[in-house]
Subunit: 246 residues, 2 copies
DNA sequence: CGAGCGATTGATCATAATCAAGCGATGTGG
DNA sequence: CCACATCGCTTGATTATGATCAATCGCTCG
């Protein structure tokens, strides 16, 4: 697999060979592994590193006192967790593995160096953080205004677009390693209701899903159902005016 | 009224006199005024400035094709809108005035200068942006997991804490200039239902609200009802190790 | 004075939660 | 190798939460 982080950044700006090399060398430490359901960092902890997801799916989540869990964001390969979380002393949420996950830890000083030497790369990192914030806002809209089936459709469209950006989607097909319970905790409805919505979407020919193989026969149709507009992902090379000219 | 931005930043780090002066001089332009319901920036536009709310309440919001509106964030006096939104070419949401609003526009270069000359001040600005992101995550939890009355209670607690940080809350009393429709579009329930939840909270002695005068007799009780934990606001001077020593 | 807006109330309907049970696949220990 | 437990998915029945529809009231403003 190609470097997902690199692929994603090129959705914003074209990087120079030197920048690409700096990105590849970002994380000197060894790869770490985690099993599904284990935590990378827990709420209340003091984060020491920035984490880069190499493979697998992780998520940010919060739990209420009585056990209700809300998944706040999905972390996919190439996602850097909280570039500047080092400013905040304590984590206000947890990061956990949804599948088996490989990740690397990058110390803070690496980023100081990037900021100093590769301003365009730094811009790309800031852009990435702003896109995450934009996604978070869209989730607010999703939970606040859309109906259950609209929410599910919207979520699938978002996941598809994000995976496509890192070349993990082809011809409407993706690997979706989530359980229905994960989906329930993401879109804020019960697992039973998720199951019924899925059956409805299947019956309407909008999705196919067996094991982890997920297929969207007609993306435009699913986008209409979910009132999905991809603008908020900012994948249309908004940094083109900064492109490296090599 | 004191400078709200300054008051807020001091919840993170103690600033030097020079930094305080730089902050006061941030926005050379004249104050602009807007009536309630007018927009500061609209989705799709290319923002030219960073906006600082001086007085009044504004909000970020998004509208679905069929008219459903979701308020995504409240912007209170001292809130700086999207310090680094200048990286993104187009707005993915709108910013509108909920009450009459006074604001000032700050050009990008002012921030380059601050970054170069006042690193501690820059840290405070980054902290502020991270707190906004944290609030957005908490809203995701609010909409996804809490019941209607929990949501309302939680929202009131959050607003109270934020106003307290800029000294606009005293002894449980705040000015709350929102309509029930605004609240409905914020917590994702219908206006009729908001009205009924409010009556319930009133009947239980948890809130009093006449015109814009809002009173919380027992904040701890309201916090329990809303499962509210203020950690996510990061108001406990997490930057104390960076304090100016004057 | 009439229009418009926000708040309020009642009645009815729709969406989604909860409770309960069963199924199939997987994995584990005796 | 089988018995058993667990987990995720599925289905049905019932209940609860909140939406929708409709009407009224008070207030402000032109």
């Amino acid at each position: 697999m190609q470097n997902a982080l690199l692929l994603k950044y090129e959705k914003f700006v074209r990087l120079s060979a030197a920048e690409r090399a700096a990105l590849m060398a970002l994380t000197p430490g060894a790869k770490k592994r985690l099993r599904a359901k284990e935590d990378i960092v827990r709420e209340g902890a003091a984060p020491q590193f920035v984490y880069l997801i190499v493979s697998g799916w992780a998520c940010r989540y919060k739990t209420l006192e009585d056990g209700r869990r809300q998944i706040i964001a999905f972390l996919l390969p190439g996602d850097l967790c909280d570039l500047n979380a080092l400013v905040l002393r304590t984590m206000d949420h947890s990061i956990g593995a949804l599948t088996d996950v490989e990740y690397v830890e990058a110390p803070k000083k690496v980023f100081d160096q990037i900021a100093a030497e590769y301003p365009r790369l730094m811009q790309a990192m800031i852009w990435d953080g702003l896109v995450s914030a934009s996604i978070q806002r869209e989730w607010t809209v999703n939970l606040g205004q859309r109906t259950a089936s609209e929410r599910m459709a919207h979520l699938f469209c978002e996941i598809y677009h994000r995976l496509q950006a890192i070349e993990m989607a082809h011809d409407g097909r993706i690997i979706l390693p989530l359980t229905q319970i994960d989906l329930a905790d993401t879109v804020g409805i019960s697992a039973v209701h998720v199951n019924r919505i899925l059956q409805d979407l299947r019956a309407r020919g909008l999705i196919q899903w067996r094991n982890a193989d997920f297929f969207i026969p007609d993306l435009q149709a699913l986008m209409r159902v979910g009132l999905f507009n991809p603008n908020y992902l900012h994948f249309d090379r908004e940094g083109a005016h900064l492109d490296a000219n090599e």
